[in-house]
């Protein structure tokens, strides 16, 4: 269980085994191995995207909402507007153009989003914890998320797995995932397919193909599905044929660690 509790063990190769967070990033990077373009914010999505370009998909087009299209960051940027992004990009556009022609224009395949809360239909809250008018914690707000979720072909979500994040009821619906279930996106005029995967430190959740409720479809090595259910604020469904994550390879891990250390 060392590999998923965050304490570093030693693998046979002699390097420390992947922490759960590292594995989360590695699994997200694998998903990006088969994307043509991805829209990402800072933090773990950015790390995953750069890792994917290093390992799996050197042609991956990374788009940041700051306006850089086809950026080739060498290190993980602290902000989405770091100068390395502008200098290395194929094209740099204004923010109005980014959202009108590129996001709303449905040109970007996959978006990575994070959030403070997520519900069973992969709707997201990044606005407020508690009451909107008398908040317990005021969060940063929507940013680009609502329209990114509406306009990109698919959405992947990276969040920490815990009951504070995976909630029965969002305090605020900032971004629509699958709304109230089947038919919701269409009724609302949202064009992309919406969230297709949620990557956590414990495994991967995917919307059920029929009723769209998030279902645990994959666990990381050593993770018990009951442990995931306990970390989820609703009665989480578990897929009949639960997959186990292929452990991070030595190549993946050393690339990730090298990247983070840059």
């Amino acid at each position: 269980m060392t590999a998923v509790t965050g304490r570093a063990g030693r693998s046979r190769g002699g390097h420390r085994a992947a922490t759960p967070e590292e594995l989360q990033t590695v699994v997200a990077a694998r998903r990006l191995g088969r994307a043509r373009s991805c829209f990402i914010g800072v933090g773990r999505p950015s790390t995953a995207a750069i890792l994917a370009r290093m390992l799996h998909n050197p042609e991956l087009v990374i788009v940041y909402e700051s306006g850089t299209i086809g950026a080739r960051p060498y290190r993980v940027p602290l902000s989405i507007g770091d100068d390395a992004l502008a200098v290395s990009a194929d094209a740099v556009v204004s923010v109005p153009e980014m959202f009108a022609y590129w996001v709303q224009g449905e040109r970007i395949e996959l978006a990575f989003l994070g959030a403070a809360q997520i519900d069973r239909y992969a709707n997201l809250n990044s606005t407020v914890i508690g009451d909107y008018d008398a908040p317990r914690t005021r969060l940063p707000g929507a940013g680009g998320a609502p329209e990114i979720s509406a306009g990109c072909h698919e959405v992947a979500i990276i969040v920490p797995h815990g009951r504070r994040t995976f909630v029965e009821q969002l305090d605020f619906r900032t971004t629509v995932g699958h709304g109230d279930g089947p038919g919701s996106r269409k009724r609302l005029g949202l064009r992309g397919a919406g969230p297709t995967a949620v990557y956590t430190e414990l495994g991967v959740l995917e919307p059920d193909p029929e009723h769209l409720e998030l279902t645990l479809t994959q666990v990381h090595p050593g993770v018990d599905p009951e442990q995931v259910r306990a970390a989820t604020g609703w009665d989480l469904l578990v897929a009949e044929h639960l997959r186990e994550t292929v452990p991070a390879t030595a190549e993946e891990l050393s690339a990730l660690r090298e990247l983070v250390a840059r």
């Binding site: 306006g67 902000s79 770091d82 740099v92 923010v95 959202f99 709303q104 005021r138 929507a142 005029g189």
Partner: protein
């Protein structure tokens, strides 16, 4: 034609108590020097408009300069919360702060509509979110297809303030690198001030360069390093440590007060 003015004079002439002020710069070219000059001159009762409030508005909000905030993402990029922003919204400190929030796409459409002299902009957005009930957005039907879209009201700030790399003596301004929404902010505003890294004899057209002719701007002020701790491509580098350190400074009201006192003292001396 833009007047070339010292920054304190430009701020004194263009920014009045009670104004709506848009200070833009998307991570890049954030007009910190101008904002700090507003702090120093003690502007009050402002409607502060900005997609990403960032440290700059955290400072102005903490100092009590803002009556109202219009924004779309109030975080410290890559670090976490804006604590003065949170303290104002969560605890009315230093006083209650009205606010109106949008998505980035909505704010961008609002600025673009303002620049285009339209009363509203349209986008595919907001549908199904709780934001829709909490902000200025209406549904509008396409007269050709019947599709339902979001309409957002144009932004027309009293003043727009941006930072750019350079201007010439006629006040023609050029900026390059990540352009954000600055052009729209200036063209949407009634008055505008541009601070620049340097004033040059003649603008040399640059790849990615955006030129604002001097006659679209009211004042230009030289302010080398004026976007630090953000950056001006080709002139300064982003001070990531300052963004990280702000987290600790801003978390605590007393530390913030101390920062403010020290900062105002320093800048007052520097500009005296």
């Amino acid at each position: 034609m833009a007047e070339i003015l010292p920054l304190p004079v430009a701020v004194a002439e263009l920014v009045r108590d009670g104004d709506s002020v848009a200070m833009e710069g998307f991570t890049h070219l954030i007009p910190f020097a101008a904002g700090h000059e507003m702090l120093r001159q003690g502007r009050r009762d402002l409607e502060l408009i900005r997609m990403t409030p960032d440290l700059l508005y955290d400072q102005l909000i903490g100092a009590g300069a803002a009556r109202r905030l219009v924004f779309s993402y109030g975080g410290n990029p890559g670090v976490g919360s804006l604590h003065r922003f949170r303290d104002a919204i969560e605890h009315d400190w230093p006083h209650p702060l009205e606010f109106e929030e949008h998505s980035h796409a909505g704010m961008a459409a609002r600025y673009a509509a303002g620049a285009a002299n339209l009363p509203f902009g349209i986008l595919r957005g907001y549908a199904g979110t709780d934001l829709e009930r909490r902000t200025a957005v209406e549904r509008i039907a396409c007269p050709f297809t019947g599709e339902s879209l979001a309409a957002v009201p144009a932004l027309r700030p009293d003043v727009a303030i941006i930072h750019a790399q350079e201007a010439d003596h006629h006040g023609n301004v050029q900026l390059w690198g990540i352009p954000g929404v600055q052009k729209e902010a200036v063209l949407a505003a009634t008055r505008s001030l541009v601070t620049v890294e340097q004033i040059v004899e003649e603008l040399q057209p640059r790849p990615g360069g955006i030129v604002l002719p001097g006659w679209t701007i009211d004042a230009v002020a030289e302010a080398p390093g004026g976007s630090l701790p953000s950056y001006a491509l080709g002139f300064t580098e982003r001070d990531n440590d300052a963004y990280r350190e702000w987290d600790a400074i801003s978390r605590d009201r007393d530390r913030f007060r101390a920062w403010l006192a020290e900062h105002l003292l320093t800048t007052t001396e520097a500009t005296a």
